[in-house]
Symmetry: D2
Subunit: 159 residues, 4 copies
């Protein structure tokens, strides 16, 4: 079975985040990975479009019905679970790449780290402990799509 | 997006059911449908193998982790939801084809009919009301894989 | 911890079913059991009202938000899971009592039997195998609320 | 229906966190609130014990079976959903009180804020945006159990 990589990020995102997510999706598809997303707009749609443009397979794991899917998914899992679908999305991923920040996105980071699934972020929110120190097992930060995808593939391969 | 058809049936099945499920998977893939299953053995594995042999795309929606997937799925959604994944599988399907009977399979029939999703059965269990009468909105019975797939595609198209 | 008994049945029910469900809820509360229901109307509301009138504790396990709860629940679990909540409800029960039939109710019967959880029905739908024979591990039928609750308590105690 | 307050925090916690959680549970029960927790050990068990000691009602929303419940829950919802139960727990709460930090706890903070549910933390992890700035809609920090419970009750009442 191919590597499965979740790309997570906010529905409402900047043009830079959209472009970054598109590149992440494209690079993952070029590496032969299946791209999983939450199936919605913004970062999710951009990563999906990038992956599809490179001939990749994209699975949207939606909170509600299939009519909420962006037009770039190959398959739409209409979970009907609401935000509990974030746990389903993360549980299906070998590694998670995050572009940008939102509360929903943060829940995916946290659920992934709870499972021990590696997370690579580009421009995402920061998490600190109660003293303001960095966490030893937090996500790895990357500066570019190329660096993020390379780190994600390395982390998935190392598991 | 392609039509999404769930094929449901018991993990422990007869050779006849296995052969029937293989044919159902093949016919669905030949018709261009994405095949969704619960990702396990028996009917699920046979339908997946049939679809893959015909070049189809197969998504396994698993109750637990990816290591429970049969070898024929293209993508494994490791929901971690236990039997609640039956609701996720059914919610993602345009139509459900059932081969054989089990309590888990019956829950998928019931959850599909609860949603108004059409169900076509080959050799599945029967459901009657408290008086023993047939239900007006029960699954449609088919005698062969060809008849079942034709009925499923017609029902999905008519929605 | 007290015994936890799920009472399942349709939202739209007859006056007889409503009265039966009220008695079932009352008898369960009098026996010291916590009553779990799907939190909605019809059989669910009647069983909850019966249990509360006898001083019992009632937990509604809702498919959506708390505003969908009937007025008789002590606690409302607003799962947001849609019909996947049926699996959550059943998984939390030592035994399931069913009053009347519907597709949603049938999914709860099937999910309970899939887990090996005992089910007692009053006037519920019938399930037969492909040949029309009775299933060896199907629900037990009861004729009255008293008989149903006695059978449920015995089955839960025997586990 | 009574106010429903989720108390979240790590399974492995310090003695200070345990004592804080016990006081939070007690104060919530004294205020008439139903206490919801994840049903496990550490902060969850301490808050449950505090609430029960004050005569309160405690619902444990467990990731797996009922045998994973701490001895202080009044009712155990054995969701079988794995970490997806975090979303169920949060969706059922009018307000969330967090004691201490962990990845699972952070997922509950994030899922709550995603829904707009107020969150009050005592000693929890910090979340910053990509620039390291505080988020405008982040949790409110409290220094003591008394302050946390007062803030939680006020926030729930203001919704």
């Amino acid at each position: 079975m191919a590597l499965q990589v979740a790309v997570c990020g906010p529905r409402e995102c900047s043009e830079t985040e959209r472009s970054t997510a598109h590149d992440v999706g494209r690079l993952l598809a070029e590496a032969g990975a299946v791209v999983l997303t939450g199936g919605g707009g913004g970062v999710m749609a951009a990563a999906s479009a990038g992956a599809r443009a490179a001939g990749g397979l994209v699975v949207g794991v939606l909170p509600g019905g299939r009519d909420g899917a962006n037009p770039h998914v190959s398959v739409a899992l209409a979970t009907g679970l609401g935000e509990a679908r974030n746990a389903v999305l993360v549980a299906s991923a070998d590694v998670v790449v995050v572009v940008g920040g939102s509360w929903g996105t943060l829940s995916e980071v946290a659920l992934a780290r709870r499972r021990g699934t590696p997370v690579v972020t580009i421009g995402g929110w920061q998490v600190r402990d109660a003293d303001g120190s960095e966490l030893p097992d937090g996500p790895r930060a990357a500066a570019t799509p190329e660096e993020a995808v390379a780190a994600a593939l390395a982390a998935a391969g190392a598991r």
